[in-house]
């Protein structure tokens, strides 16, 4: 299915589409308020962008510096070329400790690697501890947003899920009470956690630390109660210096939710006394993207989700319409690198309005990359044949002024003479499903101009 086919399903529920759009627009407005209140915000974006560009240009050095410092801190560092290797490393560590249960805080990387189903298949109970992630885990769904994984659900949906799985009263949809239920339910899991998996927001090369940002405190609670901490990170999470965090902590949450900072910005440098800490550094296509000059800037992404909140398409099609771990505009430029054929429709799921580029806190030229992916897809033959041939025909017409004038006249006359029901049949004219065609004038501008000149 293409993005547009999946969107059409989402759009069937018009009221829900309105609600989804308005909810995310509200987040975008909160972001705006926080950004307007930070006078140096645009300067910070430039700094963040430059720091990330620099890091990518010396990634080889920073990866090794980070590894060396982490090892010196008593942390064990593992390298995974792809998702399969990442999953095998994590399972190996769990087996080594005889663990049958793991608590996991938010990590888009483990989603990308499909770690949960893999561990479950191997007899490990995985508990997602972020509230949003827990909700969708209970519903066996994928996250629909990188920061707000359950944003596609209404409180009634969550109420039903909690009634089914956690025994809340049917019809209790109060977010306060549902959250309290999740707190009690997950506390038991935290207390019994043997191993904790966390994601990584930033990895500091000069100290070997990983930084994890949460509002709920679930990463800290899980990690600090477990015997073993496994932090999983994509290799693009590196930043050179501790002081660079000042830039990133200032832009991350302001862009994401409009908060000035997350409740917990935690720096994990050495394992606790008698405990173990592991870091898994994952490639999974990132080095390939690094080698694509037009697209490498996508590796600067800090997963704030601002491009999703602002995207007028995402807000009306929902995260699942992208059918990729990272939805929205950033997902549309990351996904073709992973599987060009499967995700061929995503770079076309945009009007190229450019709002994503303008909210991006690390200044990724998202809409330009969408345009460039379209060209790559076009040249690779990954666009529908009908589009390919009609564009070729259009090119013939538009590069020959005589043919263009004639074609225009014929088309306008046709529109004038044919019955409305035929010209507006939605079956072959998608324009007309919800829109009237322009009323064809008797004369084109060029015909009028020629007439004037003739007089």
């Amino acid at each position: 299915m293409s993005h547009s086919q999946r969107s059409d399903i989402f759009l069937l529920d018009a009221e829900r589409t309105t609600w989804h759009d308005e909810t995310l627009w509200f987040v975008r407005q909160k972001r705006d308020k926080a950004v307007y209140a930070t006078p140096e915000f645009q300067e910070l974006r430039q700094l963040a962008s430059d720091i990330k560009d620099h890091t990518l240009s010396r990634l080889n050095f920073y990866l090794q510096q980070f590894e060396e410092n982490a090892r010196r801190n008593g942390v064990q560092v593992h390298w995974a070329a792809d998702a399969a290797e990442h999953n095998a490393i994590v399972l190996g560590l769990l087996r080594q400790h005889g663990a049958t249960r793991v608590v996991k805080s938010k990590s888009m990387l483990t989603e990308e690697c499909h770690l949960n189903p893999y561990l479950t298949q191997h007899g490990i109970e995985v508990i997602d501890t972020d509230l949003g992630e827990r909700i969708i885990q209970l519903r066996e769904e994928a996250p629909s947003h990188v920061v707000l994984p359950a944003i596609h659900l209404k409180k009634e949906d969550v109420g039903d899920t909690f009634h089914l799985h956690l025994g809340t009263t049917k019809g209790n949809n109060d977010p306060q009470q549902l959250t309290e239920t999740a707190r009690q339910h997950l506390r038991e899991k935290f207390l019994a956690g043997q191993v904790a998996i966390s994601g990584v927001n930033f990895a500091v090369a000069e100290t070997g630390s990983v930084v994890v940002c949460t509002n709920e405190g679930n990463a800290d609670l899980g990690v600090n109660l477990a015997k073993v901490h496994i932090a999983c990170m994509g290799m693009e999470k590196l930043i050179p210096r501790l002081s660079d965090l000042s830039v990133f902590t200032r832009i991350l949450t302001r862009s994401a939710t409009g908060q000035p900072v997350t409740t917990y910005t935690s720096h994990f440098t050495r394992p606790g006394e008698g405990k173990e800490m592991h870091i898994v550094i994952v490639d999974n296509g990132r080095t390939k993207q690094l080698g694509r000059p037009d697209f490498r800037a996508s590796l600067k992404c800090i997963r704030c989700g601002a491009c999703m909140n602002t995207c007028p398409v995402y807000r009306r099609s929902g995260g699942h319409s992208y059918d990729f771990t990272i939805p929205g505009p950033i997902g549309a430029i990351l996904s073709p690198n992973i599987d060009m054929r499967k995700h061929a429709s995503l770079p076309f799921a945009s009007t190229l309005c450019g709002s994503c580029t303008d909210v991006c806190p690390v200044k990724i030229d998202i809409h330009t990359q969408l345009y460039k992916w379209r060209q790559v897809l076009g040249q690779a033959g990954e666009i529908p044949a009908s589009k390919k041939w009609s564009m070729r025909l259009l090119s013939r017409v538009l590069s020959k002024p005589g043919m263009y004038s004639l074609g225009g006249r014929v088309a306008r006359q046709g529109l004038r003479l044919l019955p409305h029901g035929l010209t507006h049949a939605g079956g072959y004219n998608p324009w007309a499903i919800a829109r009237e065609l322009p009323e064809p004038p008797r004369q084109s501008f060029r015909e009028w101009y020629a007439e004037q000149a003739g007089q």
Partner: protein, 189 residues
């Protein structure tokens, strides 16, 4: 495992672009007043209580919390739950109030630096039902730039803590008290 490491690093070397400059980050000064710190922290669900005299700290705490709370704190003689790095999870889970020392506060976002050394146990600031941080009013900086400039080391573990634990994962409705502390009070001395 070594082979993946070498494979990845070789691919990075082959694919990374020519070196681009690393910028110097300015210190971006700003308002470092107690007033703004208080306003920002309240805005994110925290509470600020000014304590005129450090000696009155126990009295202030008695006024703020029920007297029968199980309290863990290195700062109060009346703390009744002894906690250290080896304290069992069951004991930690019973703590109702932790009173800990905050190192310094950041005015722009209401966050407070709490290093492991001030925590008794790494999980205490999150597992306690309620959290109070004692903060010297002279130890406020304007922005995160000054905050990191002040941190020569982040130690083994440390966190910038801003307000109580919260979530908005259900329909964007803000709920205070997700997994960590249900309330967070700063006792400004």
């Amino acid at each position: 495992m070594t082979s993946s490491r070498e494979k990845i690093l070789a691919a990075v070397r082959a694919n990374q672009p020519a070196e681009l400059p690393l910028p110097t980050v300015p210190l971006f000064e700003g308002d470092d007043s107690v007033e703004k710190f208080t306003a920002i922290l309240q805005g994110i669900g925290g509470q600020v209580v000014e304590v005129t005299d450090v000696a009155r700290l126990p009295e202030v705490i008695h006024g703020l919390y029920p007297t029968d709370y199980r309290i863990a704190s290195p700062l109060l003689p009346e703390a009744n739950v002894p906690v250290d790095a080896n304290t069992s999870i069951e004991v930690l889970a019973g703590v109702e109030l932790a009173v800990l020392q905050g190192e310094f506060g950041v005015v722009e976002n209401g966050t407070i630096w709490v290093p492991e050394a001030n925590m008794l146990h790494r999980a205490l600031p999150m597992i306690t039902q309620h959290l109070a941080l004692v903060l010297d009013r002279r130890h406020l900086v304007a922005t995160m730039h000054q905050a990191y400039a002040r941190l020569t080391s982040v130690g083994s573990y440390g966190t910038f803590l801003a307000g109580p634990s919260k979530t908005a994962d259900i329909e964007q409705s803000l709920v205070i008290g997700a997994h960590g502390a249900r309330s967070m009070t700063v006792l400004l001395v």
